[in-house]
């Protein structure tokens, strides 16, 4: 010690903490004081069953004995809030002053340990700390080695520890029992003591692998107990006994498992039934319920009343007053839906492409007929290299389909099944014959059972919450059938195969103008999954394509009438750039300028315009590649060098986009430079009128204003939108960025303005604003608008913001030409979009396809769970709500993470297991086993209780309806274990059994528990009468006797 050296300086040495054990004791005392266990008031007797239903709390501290680390834990039953005020006060440590009162009161009452010892209300708690179970304590302290590997085996160390504890308890006057754990951790051997002012309680334990047979019953145990008490008092007060025997039922003779769920068996057989790929499988493969533990309890018997010895036993389970049942569930039973989902999830990690997966099939194939293959190879070699062009769409198509046809025999999905699935996905592909079938299907969905009706609300909520796709949509169906195919027909290869077929069908439908059935029309629904949106988009493309082609047909007839080649005055500053000119092909050829030189082109226009004022001018833009018009390609439009390009630009990179804008800006300014005035009245005929715009009259001409037919803005899927948002965001928040963004988005505005101009010859921006953005038109007060005035009259003015020089609206207005919507450049290039989508679909790796279909799969799985939930289990309700909430979140997350799906699928599997258990229990406790009529309700109550609680006491014990069912189950199991084969008497096997004396109704109890209690003066006959208790549990190869013996410390 440092003090030794400086002894001259510091005379004081603290000798009280000189040795390790003294330090240990003082630390222990410190902890006890810290937990306020000193002068701890007595607690009343614990209420019935509070040990399992109440809250247990723990406090822990570390403590060292030399270098040996212990963890000291105070474990206590929380006193319920409704407890007496005295208790509450004394519990709160701040109010120690009032504790005297409590002490006074408690003088009359028994110390907590004694109360606990003799309290019979909590004899066999099914879930509690072992010390609580053995000694019936509601509060105790345990000191155990901090690490599981540290063991106290040495006898002298044990003694030293116990005496240290004894000193600490005496010093602090703490009345809470304190235990120390000895021997190996798993043996749970404790030794403990409780110190009170006038007595002590010693807790001792025996743990044996084998018990001598003379003690293996109540009589022997009583002998031990009495011997230990060593009481000489007579008459000796009787020992009260509580007994519980536990019987295990493992064989469920009446309900053998696996009970094949309908879809399970059929799919295993590889049967290609229709129901097969339409619904996900559900149910457990093995029995989710493994064992039933029946505990028969005899509470508080007197030792004189019962006899149990080696040859005779009074303890017949059928005579036991209390029966309780616990169900042992199979750990992690294999369930079909969960298996399916896990399987699917694994596919997401696969990186193979479709070609890699199906390619090997192809090579296998070509091995079969090598000759043909070689000749083909030769042919390929000899073919002139010039002919290697880009393969046209049709050749690729035919190749793809032919390739598929070649390997049809070896394809993972048999042709027959494939056709059936495709028909299921696209019911419209079949003829009238199928419509009947469809009708019947609808009927099916109408014929809802009550259970299903109950679930309907759930389903509705589900389809709103989950970002997947509607249940009857093709994407949903595809997801389900794809994963069934995955499970039963060769995994990812089958998925790749089916997907390839699906993509081919998509292309076929696009090319032949068939709508994709099972996908609702209209704008892509952002609340659905991306794949669904893509298909919706494809439908949009098909719709436009059909319309366009119809329009084209219609126009070829009356085209000449629309070929009006006029110049129109538009504003005070007439835009000179000639518009709306449809060139004769010859002329177009003459003037046509290559489209790569847009700027030059405009300059040329300028010159020409000045030279040929009255002539049509046009810059010819070749419409073959980029610029497609509503009308046929041969019809050339006049040079429109407006920022329409911005619309397409969005999809391009930022840089490219800016270039385009700059380009278009410069050209449009050029265009406005070329403006020259032409006085006169509008000459072009109005085109593309939709409907009159209220009573509004054109300001200048006073004619009726018309709302034009306009182009709908391009529909967008969410990835397109994100891409666009990103491009917009990348421009930054500077004023330049703002302006650029406005330019980029002006395509729609321009289109609307052009349509408006076409529909309202002679209109002005003011007119447009009055229709488009009415609040930017400020009518002059006091002056009644005079509709009849044909001359421009100042009846109002544009708002301040519309008058900002060089603002977007004015600029676009000036560059806008009177072109009806149908002849404008398409805002929505359906051809390109459709190609993009098809490319997206066909380029997807099967693993990615799976990931894209996961939302629908999850949706389908949840529906499946709900459908199967025919029992009203509150626990399941909660779980389902959790699953749905979680699913909604996971599916909406912008980044689809497999990890989060894993959690979700675990939850779904759990729900499946709960349902499977419920079903299993229902089949086990069938109503057929009931004797009494009208007891079904009681049985159902019992089963639902079993699902919700770990231990259920049977109402009416062995005589109740549930009890008799369990009795029958045991008889049947005994019968089968004794290999009795009497088929005839199976129904009333109970009767048969009672007649055969050799076979008992119940097996030997697998566990026996006894609690022996008595009041006896100890150690001397003149000592105070104190309670004693011994708990015994006898299980095969594990016998434990735990005794709590009190000791009078005054009169001994």
């Amino acid at each position: 010690m440092a003090a030794d050296e400086e002894a001259d300086v510091f005379e004081i040495t603290d000798f009280t903490t000189a040795s390790e054990w003294e330090r240990f004791i003082s630390r222990l005392e410190e902890i006890l004081h810290g937990w306020k266990l000193v002068n701890h008031p007595n607690r009343g007797p614990a209420l019935k069953d509070v040990y399992t239903s109440g809250d247990w709390e723990e406090k822990s501290e570390d403590i060292f004995f030399a270098d040996f680390k212990f963890t000291v834990t105070f474990i206590y039953l929380k006193v319920p809030e409704s407890g007496g005020t005295d208790k509450k006060e004394s519990q709160s440590p701040e109010q120690e002053t009032e504790q005297d009162n409590a002490d006074d009161e408690s003088d009359g009452t028994l110390p907590t340990v004694f109360v606990d010892m003799m309290n019979m209300d909590n004899d066999f708690p099914f879930r509690a700390h072992c010390l609580c179970r053995w000694y019936g304590l509601q509060e105790f302290i345990v000191a155990a080695p901090a690490s599981n590997s540290d063991v106290i085996e040495n006898e002298s160390r044990m003694k030293l520890l116990m005496s240290s504890i004894s000193i600490a308890l005496h010093n602090t006057e703490c009345k809470v029992p304190l235990f120390v754990q000895f021997q190996q951790w798993w043996r749970k051997i404790y030794s403990g003591m409780c110190v009170m002012p006038d007595s002590t309680v010693e807790y001792e334990m025996v743990h044996l692998k084998k018990l001598p047979s003379q003690y293996n019953h109540l009589e022997g145990l009583l002998d031990i107990f009495k011997g230990k008490l060593g009481s000489t008092v007579s008459p000796r007060p009787p020992v009260s006994v509580s007994v519980r025997f536990t019987y295990v039922l493992q064989e469920w003779v009446n309900s053998p498992w696996p009970q094949s769920p309908p879809d399970f068996s059929s799919s295993l057989e590889g049967d290609v039934g229709c129901s097969d790929f339409r619904i996900l499988p559900f149910g457990a493969c093995e029995d989710p319920v493994s064992e039933l533990h029946l505990s028969c309890t005899w509470p508080s018997l007197s030792e004189d009343m019962i006899v149990e010895n080696q040859v005779y036993s009074d303890l017949d389970p059928l005579q036991a007053p209390q029966w309780t049942v616990r169900i042992q569930m199979t750990e992690d039973p294999q369930c079909l839906l969960g298996e399916y989902l896990k399987n699917c999830l694994q596919l997401c990690h696969r990186k193979e492409t479709t070609d890699e997966l199906l390619g090997c099939l192809f090579t296998e194939d070509s091995d079969n007929d090598q000759g043909a293959d070689i000749s083909q190879a030769l042919q390929r070699l000899t073919q002139p290299s010039v002919s290697y062009n880009m393969p046209s769409l049709t050749t690729v198509m035919s190749q793809a389909s032919s390739r598929l046809r070649i390997k049809a025999e070896e394809a993972p999905v048999p042709t027959e099944l494939l056709n059936e699935i495709l028909l299921y996905l696209f019911p419209d592909a079949k003829d009238s014959e199928n419509t009947e079938k469809e009708g019947s299907k609808d009927e099916d969905s109408d014929e809802l059972t009550e259970d299903e009706m109950r679930h309907q609300t759930y389903f509705k909520q589900l389809s709103k919450d989950l970002k997947s796709s509607p249940v009857n949509s093709v994407v949903h169906k595809l997801a389900v059938s794809l994963f069934t195919v995955n499970y039963h027909h060769g995994g990812l290869r089958a998925v790749a195969h089916l997907w390839q077929e699906f993509v081919l069908e998509m292309r076929y439908r696009l090319e032949n103008n068939y709508f994709i059935s099972g996908v609702e029309n209209g704008q892509p629904n952002m609340g659905s999954c991306l794949l669904h949106q893509k298909l919706q988009m494809l439908n949009c493309c098909i719709e436009r394509k059909i319309k366009r082609e119809q329009l084209h047909k219609g126009y070829t007839g009356r085209r000449h009438s629309t070929d009006v080649t006029d110049l129109i005055p538009t504003d005070d500053n007439y835009i000179g750039c000639p518009e709306d000119v449809s060139m004769e092909t010859d002329d177009a050829m003459n003037i046509s300028v290559s489209e790569t030189a847009d700027n030059n082109e405009s300059c040329e226009n300028e010159h020409r315009a000045s030279e040929q004022a009255n002539m049509r001018l046009a810059s010819n833009v070749d419409s073959s590649s980029e610029d497609e018009f509503f009308e046929c390609a041969e019809e050339n439009q006049s040079g429109r060098t407006e920022p329409v390009a911005g619309a397409e630009m969005v999809a391009r990179s930022e840089m490219a986009g800016e270039n385009t804008i700059v380009q278009s800006m410069s050209t449009s300014s050029l265009a406005s430079n070329t403006s020259f005035k032409i006085s006169g009245i509008p000459q072009h005929r109005p085109e593309g009128r939709l409907t009159p715009c209220g009573d509004l009259k054109l300001l200048r001409s006073g004619e009726q204003m018309y709302i034009p037919v306009t182009q709908e803005p391009s529909p967008m899927t969410e990835d397109m939108l994100d891409e666009q948002a990103e491009v917009l965001a990348k421009l930054g928040s500077s004023p330049e960025g703002t302006q650029l963004r406005a330019k980029m988005q002006s395509a729609c505005l321009l289109s609307d303005m052009e349509s408006f101009k076409a529909a309202n010859p002679g209109c002005a921006l003011e007119d447009f604003v009055r229709w488009y953005s009415p609040r930017d038109w400020i009518p002059n007060e006091g002056e009644e608008p005079d509709n009849e005035m044909p001359l421009p009259g100042e009846k109002g003015q544009l708002s301040q913001r519309m008058l900002i020089p060089g603002n977007m609206w004015v600029e676009v207005w000036q560059s806008a030409q009177a072109i009806p919507a149908h002849r404008q450049k398409r805002l929505f290039d359906d051809t390109k979009e459709a190609e993009k989508i098809l490319h997206f679909l066909s380029a997807m790796k099967p693993g990615a396809v799976v990931l894209h279909l996961l939302p629908c799969l999850v949706h389908a799985a949840i529906i499946r769970v709900i459908e199967n939930d025919d029992s009203d289990i509150p626990k399941l309700r909660m779980l389902l709500d959790q699953v749905i909430g979680k699913a909604a979140k996971v599916l909406r997350s912008p980044h689809q993470e497999i990890r989060r799906y894993e959690d979700l699928i675990k939850m779904i599997s759990l729900a499946e297991v709960v349902i499977a258990r419920a079903k299993s229990l229902k089949t086990k406790f069938t109503e057929e086993l009931l004797d009494q009529p009208g007891a079904e309700e009681e049985l159902n109550y019992f089963v639902s209780n079993l699902l919700q609680h770990p231990e259920v006491s049977i109402r009416g014990g062995p005589c109740g309806p549930a009890g008799s069912v369990i009795h029958k189950l045991f008889i049947a199991a005994q019968k089968s274990s004794y290999l009795v084969l009497d088929d005839e008497t199976e129904e009333n096997s109970g009767e048969a059994y009672r007649q055969s004396p050799t076979i008992p109704d119940f097996p030997n109890p697998s566990g026996r528990e006894y609690i022996l209690r008595t009041w006896v003066p100890r150690p001397a006959p003149y000592s105070k009468t104190l309670p004693h208790r011994m708990y015994c549990v006898l299980v095969d190869n594990d016998y434990r006797l735990a005794g709590a013996f009190s000791h009078d410390t005054i009169f001994q």
Partner: protein, 219 residues
């Protein structure tokens, strides 16, 4: 803050210098002052007339909330009827909405219910909405009383402010309140969406209570 860094931010588009990013949307009828409101907040500037927004525009502002940098990406939308389809597409993914009307314009107030329906239809369930009556400096021209605004907000279950972008009344309060509500909602949900959290500081969560806010109308 953000306004000073604009040019810098522009260069470094993949700016990771924040803990959370909230996407907010300002919606409401045409010319109720959405753009002015945003400019007042982001740039602390006011012009009597901004060019009518075409399509959708945005500004960025970074705020601090309990030592966390919250980057606000505030989207400003065109109010014209014709732009509805375009702008509603952006509702998805927005965590907060500022629904604005003009206290001097009855029509814009009457449209609030409509806008609310739009939000319900197109946005995520957990999106937070604040109702804002703008131009409260124009007392002479006022046609929608504060009480009516409050009443409507109560009816729709929204927070309510009256503001003036011109006089800079309550502009900051609106955004602060909206950020607070969003943060509360985030802490509330048990497993807050990790995608909201910047990857660098994954796992951090807001748990403290929001600083008390003056949510009442100050004018």
């Amino acid at each position: 803050m953000a306004s000073a860094n604009d040019s810098k931010w522009q260069k470094d588009a993949a700016d990771q210098n924040f803990d959370y990013m909230f996407k907010l949307l300002i919606i409401g009828n045409s010319s109720v002052g959405k753009t002015s409101f945003l400019f007042r907040y982001a740039d602390d500037s006011f012009t009597s007339a901004f060019v009518s927004t075409v399509g959708i525009d945005f500004k960025v502002k970074t705020v601090f909330r309990q030592d966390k940098r919250v980057k606000l990406q505030i989207w400003d939308t065109a109010g014209q009827e014709r732009y509805r389809t375009i702008t509603t597409a952006y509702y998805r993914g927005a965590m907060g909405f500022i629904l604005m009307y003009d206290v001097t314009n009855e029509e814009s107030f009457n449209a609030v219910q409509d806008w609310c329906t739009q939000i319900k239809t197109y946005s995520w369930d957990n999106a937070q909405v604040v109702l804002v009556g703008n131009k409260c400096d124009l007392e002479d021209e006022r046609v929608v009383s504060t009480e009516r605004g409050k009443q409507l907000a109560d009816q729709l279950g929204l927070e309510f402010f009256e503001t003036s972008a011109k006089e800079n009344i309550n502009v900051k309060a609106v955004f602060e309140r909206l950020v607070d509500i969003i943060c509360d909602k985030m802490s509330e949900s048990l497993d807050s969406d990790p995608t909201l959290v910047n990857s660098q500081t994954k796992g951090t969560r807001l748990t403290e209570n929001p600083s008390p806010q003056n949510s009442g109308c100050q004018c």
